[in-house]
């Protein structure tokens, strides 16, 4: 039985018994080829997104399997992009899953010569301390502000993030808040 099946699966036999005598097509097809499907079909879910590069705002579909991004496609529903993506947009999967990404906090102490490890919570606490101390040291009471804390960035961030940033900075009296739109 198994032997027979083994023999039957031998492409030479399929050549002799089927239509593909020259062994250029169906006879030569492997089991893997026969069973092949696009990996997006076996994704656990598809999430709708927007390309993070330029401001055209192309729509993306993010395919997720086992909590990993396995593919990023253009979304043909978009009236802006009609499913198309430029090379950068097409490289989005590497952007979000590539080996260059950093996943841990790094800390360089003053005059230090290399990075050190730091817990995220500890880093947050230290940064909060720095903000409070610098703010106190540089407080300009008549103008209700500090010129000791500056911020640069926002054009690559979400509106909601820019909103919270501006809200917090303004409450702290930090006014040197800027982003790429100026550059």
């Amino acid at each position: 039985m198994t032997v027979r099946r083994l023999i039957a699966s031998w492409p030479v036999v399929r050549q002799l018994t089927g239509d593909d005598r020259l062994g250029l097509g169906a006879a030569a097809r492997s089991d893997r080829s026969a069973a092949l499907v696009a990996r997006t079909e076996t994704a656990d879910r598809m999430v709708k997104s927007i390309c993070p590069y330029c401001a055209v705002g192309c729509a993306q579909r993010i395919y997720v399997k086992d909590e990993k991004v396995i593919q990023v496609e253009g979304d043909p529903d978009s009236p802006i992009s009609r499913g198309r993506l430029c090379p950068k947009g097409s490289a989005t999967k590497e952007l979000v899953t590539g080996p260059s990404r950093e996943y841990t906090v790094k800390y360089r102490r003053p005059h230090g010569t290399d990075w050190e490890e730091l817990e995220l919570d500890r880093a947050m606490d230290m940064i909060a301390d720095r903000v409070i101390a610098t703010r106190a040291a540089t407080w300009d009471a008549p103008n209700r502000r500090t010129l000791g804390i500056a911020s640069l960035g926002g054009a690559t961030l979400d509106n909601e993030e820019n909103y919270l940033m501006k809200k917090l900075y303004t409450a702290l009296g930090a006014v040197q808040v800027e982003n790429q739109a100026r550059i």
Partner: protein
């Protein structure tokens, strides 16, 4: 012009190609022959930094040949407005407008006003916050009365005649001399534009940072605005001026600004000299006519959104919780202060100033003067590691152990790892949903700032110091999601949209009140969460909608896709052309209707005349489409809001090998400069030491300063190294070999690059001699997979005075074969 759309916005360029296939003519005017030029019907090479001469000559061509769209110009622009008797033009003062104060190096714009208008506040010192950008959406005048006009456009002081005189010397011959564009070539473009702009046809102008990154950048765009208003191309489908912006949410970060001089919705940051109290602020920023007439409602709603219950009528809605600005606190000013040791702390988020900003060396020196630095990014960018592997460490100019900056690098979450909205280049908000949880320590900025605020508030709790009240009283409650405690981005968007007295979301900014009963984080975004629905997340397939696709995403304001679209119809409310109809007055229904959301009071008839005492939008007539302008008109002449003149004028770039053939005034007199040892300029007769013009640009294969591209193999292999583009003639003159190395020097620095010799770069004949231009893509730095020197190191801080943007599209350089010296 000023845009390389095919390379920088390839997917947007599909529409240009589609238009071309349908018969549209694509004209590309640029210093370089790019991939856009390759696909254009017509390419015109012009000298970098000479666009106003070219555009101004188009204005002149329109006016001298009578090609303006007369009815449109007369009805919808301020062409007929009569300007103050005190106004003097650059033609009269050899390159200066009236009001120039050589002492302060600034203009007093009083004489630029409409005749009979009260004087606007002085633009003040150059370091002050200009009004123009603060009212980046619409402009404001002081007077309530419509200006005196001459509908025949014949009055010698009417805008139309001033315009004619101002541009009279901008001839095809001048274009040839200044821009290096042959006369016939120029005329071909001017004629094509005129021929295609009328009732039946419209033309669009696309630009990008090729226009903004100049010391006269704002005026470049102004010139285009004049052309489009004269030709009747504004507010109409297929027309307009399209700013092609370069970052996913750079529009959003201006609307909800991480910018020093504005608050959400283009409301100015309070200025110490002008906005001492809430009443001062409201008075200064509320326009007598147009939708800026409700600035009080927008502003008080913002204060309510920020300080919630703590903001009451009794405490002026916490107005005194807002810090004052006192001058220029923009990026470059701040960096200069940082280099001088005046700024101890710095947050950098998704940006890479160590290589991405002009005069990178100055930036790196500034970073080394910090006490502490927080860098948040996906990868370890140059800004995070300048202290250990920057070029100055290499050359020995800086020693790691000498740098006292404490650096925190925090890995960021990618867009796939967080919910949120981007605002794309056409003002459309689009929501991206979180696909996966961020790994390790990666977090969103939403998480970072909310938790930073939380920790600071915890540490300050109980403080009695008045300065801590704004922090402690902040409305800082958002639902937290998941194990990391991620603030709910939709809740933030809802706050941005605004809520009414009933606690439900408002439907739009017209529902906002100045009595503290509404709260709204950004008035122009009001409506983005109307009916408690996340409107930017709408994704009705394009195939199931008409081509305006109003149910995909949400565009501010009020989901309008084309601004000022009332202008697509004639004064009586009928479309100028059936072919080009967009919105029109439906007499039966007594409403404006059409394919787009009408950008007008929906039931204001075309023949509406404001009654005595009408305010805000009610003070504008039914045939005044530019509803954010105090006079409802498109401004050919800008009486208020700009600090460097009411009309565009050709000035040479700050660094130029040529003298200005039009005026004794060489460069924009109001431009912002920093004369310091670490920001040297090639001034005087620049042609000697640095005879060539250099310009920076992007490539399709990379993204800005490279943080999102140079670290990716699939993009890096496509453009693996920094290179410069030179003509065969320059290569021959300087002994440069294709594929070899060149060193490019400027008054600031020297960088090296691989050489790409190409016929696409040709010398231009300017003022009787051949000019060579050197092209420098600016994506590189020393980190990542694809590395190279940063082109930005070569460029100076020399800024546009209106918006403080640096001039990196034209400066002077020299070039020699071989690699740069080390150590």
């Amino acid at each position: 012009m000023g845009s390389n759309m095919a390379e920088c916005h390839p997917v947007g360029f599909q529409w240009v190609m589609e238009a071309k296939a349908r018969g549209a003519r694509v004209i590309h005017v640029d210093p370089r022959f790019t991939r856009t030029s390759a696909l254009a019907d017509t390419f015109v090479a012009l000298r970098a930094g000479s666009d106003i001469a070219f555009l101004g000559a188009i204005v002149n061509h329109i006016l001298t040949t009578g090609r303006e769209f007369r009815e449109y110009v007369a009805a919808y622009t301020n062409a007929s407005a009569i300007i103050s008797e005190d106004y003097e033009d650059t033609e009269d003062l050899d390159g200066l407008f009236s009001g120039w104060d050589p002492e302060t190096q600034t203009y007093d714009p009083t004489s630029w006003q409409y005749a009979g208008m009260p004087a606007a506040p002085s633009a003040g010192t150059k370091e002050s916050s200009p009004q123009g950008e603060a009212h980046g959406y619409g402009s404001k005048l002081e007077g309530a009365e419509p200006p005196a006009t001459d509908p025949t456009l014949e009055h010698p002081r009417c805008v139309f005649q001033i315009l004619k005189r101002h541009f009279a010397r901008y001839t095809p011959e001048l274009v040839e001399e200044v821009c290096g564009v042959p006369k016939a070539r120029f005329l071909e473009v001017a004629e094509a534009l005129c021929d295609n702009s009328n009732r039946e046809r419209t033309s669009a102008i696309c630009y990008a940072v090729g226009w903004t990154q100049h010391t006269v950048g704002v005026q470049y765009i102004r010139t285009a605005a004049i052309i489009q208003l004269l030709l009747g191309n504004m507010g109409r489908p297929g027309g307009g001026i399209l700013a092609l912006r370069g970052h996913a949410s750079i529009q959003g970060s201006t609307d909800i600004p991480t910018l020093y001089n504005i608050l959400p919705g283009y409301m100015p940051m309070p200025h110490a000299a002008r906005h001492g109290t809430l009443d001062d602020y409201i008075a200064a920023n509320t326009a007598p006519a147009g939708f800026w007439g409700h600035a009080d409602a927008y502003f008080i709603s913002l204060l309510k959104a920020w300080w919630g219950d703590a903001a009451t009528a009794d405490n002026d809605y916490c107005y005194d919780y807002l810090p004052f600005i006192t001058g220029d606190h923009s990026s470059y000013r701040t960096i200069v202060d940082m280099a001088d040791g005046k700024v101890p702390g710095f947050f950098v988020l998704g940006q890479n100033p160590a290589v991405g900003s002009a005069n990178g060396k100055l930036h790196r020196a500034a970073l080394a003067e910090l006490e502490w630095l927080v860098v948040r990014d996906l990868v370890e960018i140059e800004t995070a590691t300048f202290w250990k592997d920057g070029p100055e460490i290499d050359t020995g100019e800086l020693r790691t152990a000498d740098i006292g900056t404490e650096v925190f690098f925090l890995p960021a979450a990618a867009h796939t790892e967080k919910d949120g909205s981007f605002t794309q280049t056409q003002r459309m908000l689009q929501w991206h949903h979180k696909a996966v949880e961020p790994e390790g320590d990666c977090r969103s900025e939403l998480w970072f700032y909310w938790h930073l605020g939380r920790i600071i508030r915890e540490k300050l709790a109980g403080s009695t110091d008045a300065r801590d009240r704004p922090v402690l009283d902040l409305a800082w409650d958002y639902p937290l999601l998941g194990q990391t405690g991620e603030p709910d981005a939709e809740a933030v968007l809802r706050e941005i949209n605004g809520v009414g007295p009933d606690g439900r979301t408002v439907g739009g900014y017209t529902e906002l009140k100045a009595d503290g009963s509404t709260a709204c984080g950004c008035w122009i975004y009001s409506g983005c969460y109307a009916d408690e629905v996340n409107q930017p997340a709408r994704r009705k397939p394009a195939s199931e909608q008409d081509r305006v696709a109003l149910e995909w995403g949400w565009a501010w304001p009020a989901n309008r896709r084309i601004l000022y679209n009332r202008a697509s119809a004639d004064p009586s409310g009928r479309p100028w052309s059936e072919r080009k109809r967009l919105v029109w007055w439906d007499g039966d229904a007594q409403r404006w209707t059409g394919h787009d959301v009408p950008d007008f009071v929906i039931d204001k008839p075309p023949d509406y005349e404001p009654p005595e005492g009408a305010e805000a939008e009610h003070a504008l007539r039914g045939d005044e489409p530019f509803i954010m302008q105090t006079d409802g008109k498109g401004w050919l002449f800008v009486p208020s809001g700009l600090v460097d003149g009411p009309l565009p004028t050709h000035y040479e770039p700050h660094e130029s090998p040529f003298s200005n053939p039009l005026y004794a005034q060489q460069a924009n007199p109001a431009r912002q400069t920093y004369r310091r040892r670490d920001n040297r300029y090639n001034n005087g007769n620049g042609a000697v030491d640095y005879p060539f013009v250099m310009t920076t640009y992007r490539l399709t294969e990379h993204h800005t300063a490279g943080g999102m591209s140079r670290f990716l193999a699939r993009l890096s292999e496509l453009q693996p190294e920094m290179f410069c583009e030179v003509s065969p003639a320059l290569a021959a003159e300087r002994g440069l070999v294709n594929g070899g190395w060149a060193t490019i020097t400027s008054a600031r620095s020297a960088i090296e690059a691989r050489v790409l010799v190409t016929e696409r770069v040709k010398p231009l004949r300017v003022q009787g001699r051949d000019l060579h231009q050197v092209g420098l893509p600016y994506h590189w730095g020393w980190k990542g997979l694809s590395t190279g020197d940063a082109a930005n190191d070569l460029f100076p801080l020399a800024l546009d005075p209106n918006v403080h943007i640096q001039e990196v599209k034209a400066a002077t350089c020299d070039i020699a074969p071989g690699r740069r010296a080390r150590a």
